[in-house]
Symmetry: C3
Subunit: 144 residues, 3 copies
Amino acid sequence: MPAVDVVRRESFVVPTPGRGLVNVTRAIADVVARAGASEGLATVFVHHTSASLIIQENASPEVPLDLETFLGGLVPDGDRRYRHVDEGSDDMSAHVRSALTATSVGIPVAAGRLDLGTWQGVWLWEHRTAPHERRVSVVVVGAR
Amino acid sequence: MPAVDVVRRESFVVPTPGRGLVNVTRAIADVVARAGASEGLATVFVHHTSASLIIQENASPEVPLDLETFLGGLVPDGDRRYRHVDEGSDDMSAHVRSALTATSVGIPVAAGRLDLGTWQGVWLWEHRTAPHERRVSVVVVGAR
Amino acid sequence: MPAVDVVRRESFVVPTPGRGLVNVTRAIADVVARAGASEGLATVFVHHTSASLIIQENASPEVPLDLETFLGGLVPDGDRRYRHVDEGSDDMSAHVRSALTATSVGIPVAAGRLDLGTWQGVWLWEHRTAPHERRVSVVVVGAR
């Protein structure tokens, strides 16, 4: 049984161009490489309530566009039922979009690497229409 | 490299007044404080299938109300397509609402504290219309 | 304070009969039993972008059918707005369905066992209409 001797937490900032998905797989893989764990768990967390995380197809550039099309249709901006309207018509919808996706994801670490499936990438989903800077943290726990 | 020498699991019960969001950030932060880890991961879990967890805005009291308004519109009670109707018209919709949100969330621990963003709180979302008692667990893994 | 001396990662393959939910609780509980941790965290991960995980009712066989009915209605196959259509009318909808549910879930381990609520089971949700083989990993971190 290996000793559990690695805990490493790092944060980085992702600039977003406004609403849509930004691939952050590489930055997360780099934290995992620096952590030096051969086996364990990497947990990714976004420190915001109007941006979220998903693990989705990393190959076809159409998939993130279609995901955005679907979610934009499901959660309209400027819904007249909302009370929280002071920060713009895309603000409450951004909170809803975030609630329907993920704030954290846990990913296995195997042989020192992020053990994603062949077609999986990790995406930050910006839900506001304006560009933002979003803070993401990765916590790696495991054994060397 | 610090030793990984903290694992602490605690459960607590959240009384809910029926459908809607209850802020549980404080109770989770208290578990993290007692765990004594300076760096690591806190994973929160709800032991139910008709209540869930989300990390959302902790400032405006309008946001949890609008989240409830949206989800209530998306997932109507008493949907005639449902087979599972014995436990009331809000039961199957509660399962659906739970499936669209989260049963667990992982949050970084930094400098001994829950490392939430400025506007983030952790909420238990009660999906049944009647009051319930909901069990929540927190598992902290990290280094002193 | 117990030492954190367990990290165990295992993968298994789940054959699916096409769209719908497959109960994978037993296979996950078996990994936890083999890990030998008395206290800790089990994180489950699915290595695909058109299948996902949820923790839901394990008792009534109607609940997984109704969950499928709801999600199928919310996310229609062959939506004309989609660009990503080369892999069939159920492919982009499968990505959307996956994005709305979970790719990973974290579950407490207590007294050496998966600490699920009375009515909770872990389900793999196949979102494609054809049968598939889906890889699932479990990472257990904790103390003996």
